[in-house]
Symmetry: C2
Subunit: 157 residues, 2 copies
DNA sequence: TTTACTGCAAATATTTTGCAATATC
DNA sequence: GATATTGCAAAATATTTGCAGTAAA
């Protein structure tokens, strides 16, 4: 699925959700949805807000918060909180899933796809719990930090 | 490993870490470590602080924040941020690992063990990344919410 | 016409920071 | 004795809330 199709399908899903919950179809909500689906990377409420202001579409931050929450509830956006700064969000991936490698030293985050693991996870069933999706964080040390560690160790000798 | 042994081994690991980093072995740090390892459930800085006050051991919140951060850095504590309230922490599990089932409707969190999955995860290697541990969140709907959903749907008919 | 939604500003809550006093090494 | 650590309070930051005005249904 390419990005255009992904966006269209997200718009349709959002409309369905709004109808079902009897919520209103406001221009603000669709503008935010569009911007979210133009964004491949992680984003924060702040960066999303700035990005909307950047193209001269003004929405209040409260509305951004509200709408992102709606998008999470209807499954179009996922929330991550990697540190105790602001929450990070991402649109749901088009095809496949990915997980996050998090460096415990520098905080850098890398996305990796692992179809085999996704398969194992999707096969999982838990009693008395209906699974929607999985979020896997792999904590460790990235190559850059590992290199720096080796260097520092040698310097101390 | 029982809880006493777990605590002792955590104390030793912490001491090693402090020595290695040339940090000081203060009574506050060890009191916090002890309290953390007396706590099986998730805790917040606030609850940890209250718990220490409760047994008349006074430490400032800043020190609790600092020490919890240290414990994370030396791998004895893990951090979760399930919502945008305060961060939740937990001591590292004695044996095996567990992951978290998170209900997207009521926010309830349940821990489950899945040795088979742990095994698959532990077998994983990522290029240019040295894995320390995995954190898996399974998002979905708990049985209580599923039941309530069915009821509401019927009520609307 | 009804009332859900928006924008704005104030309120809340958590975490971080600065600094003087203290305790570890 | 040097300085890392503590406690306290103030500051910084993210998110939530209340309310009056606006717009979707």
């Amino acid at each position: 699925m390419n990005d255009d199709k992904l966006k269209t399908s997200a718009q349709n899903a959002f409309t369905q959700y709004l109808l079902q919950k009897r919520l209103r179809k406001t221009p603000e909500r669709y503008a935010i949805l569009d911007k979210v689906f133009d964004t491949v990377e992680h984003f924060s409420v702040e960066s999303l807000y700035a990005s909307l202001e950047g193209e001269a579409f003004h929405v209040s931050k409260a509305t951004v918060y509200n709408t992102v929450q709606l998008l999470i509830e209807c499954g179009l956006v996922r929330r991550h909180q990697f540190d105790n700064k602001s929450a990070q969000y991402e649109r749901v991936p088009g095809v496949g899933n990915h997980h996050h490698l998090i460096c415990t030293q520098c905080g850098k985050i890398k996305e990796v796809k692992d179809p085999e693991l996704i398969k194992v996870l999707n096969g999982k069933r838990y009693p008395t719990f209906t699974t929607d999706y999985f979020v896997l964080y792999v904590y460790g040390v990235c190559s850059r930090c590992a290199k720096r560690n080796r260097k520092n160790k040698n310097d101390n000798k």
